[in-house]
């Protein structure tokens, strides 16, 4: 007889979602303010130490549970979300700011952080997707997952909640035979709760947990019905006759009999974080702190989808409206926050802005882990990312044309070469063994050539005068005539001589169109 699978769902529920998002934004801004005040007072305050650990845990826990906190609407007039402490203080949703403060003078007020809400919802979906591909974006801060075919449910859920905690979101998870029961379980979970149809816990929940319309709630309360169990004890048909379809739906939901079909979604494949600063940033430190925080969060998200970070896309918006956009390639894609941070810091440290920064946006481009076949006998770079950071520093020191791999250009013109920047797989380049005979010593070239005055006797140089070398020429060979580009304006023509001076040095002289130069010494 075939085994019948029973459906099983879980809901990841983030209590006070809007409040948590607003709180996250407030914490980032608090760092920014702390840096600003520490600068003004010239105190050596290590802000990172104060905020790094407490960022998502203790400060949040204290603010969102012990201290009354309320979220205001877009106009900043009415309260739209409250934490438990604020509710206990007697504040009702919809109360005005002054009414709320009158009830709880220590009330912490937040405004909505729309960008954070959107980004954190993306985080929730991306992390949930790593747990199961069957996910529904049910509501802000709520994600329903079909886990019928998922094994080891509770351990996986606890790991997921820990990941959410790491990005600063305190979440709960409920498991049930249908999405409605799972949602109700999630709302009262600590942090994971599994309940079934006939669980007394579900029966004892208040009617408000199903968010009925105020009109329907008033009627039911006037009948003395206050819990889900009390509602389901009433006959379903009678409820339908008196309260209509809405009443029937509420009865089904209260009895755990809702037949909701999940609308599966694919999480967004964009990985970005952004912040608008309340106080304009004039120094690098607060920006670096926020950069690290963003990278930690993005790295966690990218890890959940088993990808690596191949590019950092930074956008800084300045107070004067100027927008600085920079993409930083990561030579060896990685999730290592230190490497990514080092790459970004290297750029930001050299950046000079014309005005203070008002907004910062960071987006990452993911990449699949690359496979490399390592050759036993080839020298490899130990740390490619570090090497390319060093290359950037060298380029800053000597210029981009001053560091790289020399490559010959297909011309007879002396000293014609280009400098190529090493690629990521530079060190794996295979070298062909050329058997071309090597003749004569090498030349050490003076760049630019040293202007000289050369005395000729029967068209042969006999003495040379220059800033570098002077004296009688003991022996000379030449001229070696070279010319090219005669078909265009870049025409060039050089006559070269090899000469030996009294000091024993063998030099190369070149006679151009207008002057003589000492171009190098044989060594």
């Amino acid at each position: 007889m075939p085994k019948i699978e029973t459906s099983c769902f879980t809901v990841i529920y983030i209590p006070f979602y809007f409040l948590q998002c607003a709180h996250q934004k407030r914490l980032l801004q608090r760092v920014e303010n702390a840096y600003a005040s520490s600068r003004q007072l010239s105190l050596d305050v290590t802000v990172e130490d104060h905020y790094s650990d407490s960022f998502s845990s203790s400060v949040f826990a204290k603010t969102c549970t012990d201290i009354p906190a309320a979220l205001l609407d877009d106009d900043g007039i009415h309260v739209i979300e409250l934490n438990l402490a604020a509710e206990e203080a007697g504040i009702q949703p919809g109360a005005s700011t002054s009414q709320a403060i009158a009830r709880a003078p220590e009330l912490v007020l937040y405004t909505r952080a729309l960008t954070h809400e959107r980004q954190l919802q993306d985080v929730l979906l991306q992390l949930a997707y790593s747990y199961s591909p069957f996910i529904e974006n049910s509501a802000p801060g709520v994600c329903t997952i079909d886990i019928t075919k998922t094994r080891n449910q509770q351990n996986g859920l606890r790991k997921l909640l820990a990941q959410l905690r790491a990005v600063g979101l305190k979440a709960q998870a409920g498991i049930g035979p249908n999405p409605e029961i799972a949602l109700q379980a999630a709302k009262i979970a600590d942090p994971v709760l599994e309940i079934s149809h006939d669980c007394n816990l579900l029966q004892s929940l208040p009617l408000e947990s199903l968010d009925p319309s105020p009109f329907l709630l008033d009627i039911l309360k006037s009948w003395g019905v206050r819990t889900l169990g009390a509602l389901t004890r009433l006959p379903r048909d009678e409820i339908g006759q008196r309260l209509g379809l809405e009443g029937l739906s509420l009865w089904d939901r209260a009895g755990g009999r809702s037949t909701k079909v999940l609308q599966f979604v694919q999480p967004s494949e964009t990985f970005e974080e952004s912040i608008d600063f309340e106080q304009r940033l004039e120094t690098l430190e607060p920006l670096l702190f926020i950069l690290r925080r963003f990278l930690e969060r993005l790295s966690l998200r990218i890890e959940s989808v088993y990808l690596l970070i191949a590019e950092l896309h930074l956008v800084l918006i300045l107070e004067n409206g100027e927008k600085i956009v920079r993409s930083l390639q990561i030579p060896a894609p990685t999730r290592d926050v230190e490497v990514l941070y080092g790459t970004a810091v290297q750029y930001l440290e050299t950046l000079h802005t014309t005005a203070p920064v008002t907004s910062f946006h960071l987006e990452i481009k993911p990449s699949k882990p690359d496979g490399h076949q390592f050759d036993l006998f080839q020298g490899k770079l130990r740390d490619p990312n570090r090497f390319f950071q060093t290359l950037a520093r060298l380029a800053a020191l000597v210029g981009t044309e001053g560091v790289g791999i020399p490559q010959q250009i297909n011309t007879h013109r002396p000293d014609s070469l280009r400098i190529q920047t090493p690629e990521f797989d530079w060190s794996w380049h295979s070298v062909k063994n050329t058997s071309r005979p090597k003749i004569g010593p090498g030349l050490r070239r003076y760049r630019p050539g040293i202007i000289a005055s050369v005395e000729l006797d029967k068209d042969k140089p006999v003495s040379v005068q220059s800033d570098l070398i002077s004296g009688k020429i003991l022996e000379a060979r030449g001229p070696w005539n070279l010319s090219g580009n005669w078909w265009d304006r870049a025409r060039w023509e050089i006559r070269e001589w090899d000469v030996v001076l009294e000091d024993g040095g063998i030099y190369r002289l070149a006679q151009g169109l207008s002057q003589w130069e000492v171009v190098g010494v044989y060594d």
Partner: protein, 211 residues
């Protein structure tokens, strides 16, 4: 972790039986046989080797090219910190990282960055074309700083100068040769045969560490 008594006995036996064998893991072969055979296998890892070439036209560029080519033959990357931007590349060197410095200060900064990076097994610092006036201004502590860095990351630095300069070099080699005008048309192996490479100074590890 100390080895077992049998391993220790075996090492002792082998050391007594083959005294000429050196600890090759402490050496970084350049692949250029005249230099490697002189040094017993290669440049010492984790230390600075100084090549002194007093004459103007002595074959220093040949040595440079030979080492770079030999490293290429062994598919090893090499960095050349060119103190006066004078290197003339006669062919493509795909594994050569060439840093074209304009003066000594730039070259020292570039060397510092490369040594700290520790990705490349061999770095060559070429000061042959820099003036003595410039080179005399280098503080002696610079070389000891480089030595400390190299000791930690076990990379290798070869310096090329006209006069003894690197106080912390473990080995100083001298190339005393004077190119002849006819050498311009000679095959390079024939020129190299006439080179006289000689170790002029070798310091023991403790000596250069606490000098």
């Amino acid at each position: 972790m100390p080895g077992s008594p049998k391993i220790i006995q075996l090492r002792k036996f082998l050391a007594e039986r083959f005294p000429q064998q050196k600890a090759t893991h402490l050496l970084a072969p350049t692949g250029w046989s005249p230099l490697d055979s002189l040094l017993g296998g290669g440049l010492p890892k984790g230390s600075i080797t100084q090549l002194i070439i007093p004459h103007i036209s002595a074959g220093g560029a040949i040595v440079l090219h030979e080492i770079i080519e030999a490293m290429h033959q062994h598919s090893q990357c090499v960095a050349l910190i060119d103190g006066k931007n004078s290197f003339e590349s006669s062919t493509d060197y795909p594994l050569l990282l060439w840093i074209r410095c304009q003066n000594v200060a730039q070259a020292l900064k570039a060397t510092d960055l490369l040594l700290r990076d520790s990705n490349l097994p061999l770095s060559i610092l070429d000061f042959k074309q820099n003036s003595d006036t410039e080179l005399r201004k280098i503080p002696g502590t610079t070389w000891y700083r480089f030595q400390r860095i190299i000791e930690e990351n076990r990379s290798t630095l070869l310096t090329i100068t006209r006069h003894p300069l690197v106080s912390s070099a473990q080995i100083s080699i001298s190339l005393t040769h004077q190119l002849r005008f006819d050498d311009l048309a000679s095959f390079r192996p024939e020129i190299i045969k006439l080179f006289s490479l000689e170790i002029v100074r070798r310091r023991f590890e403790l000596e250069y560490r606490y000098a």
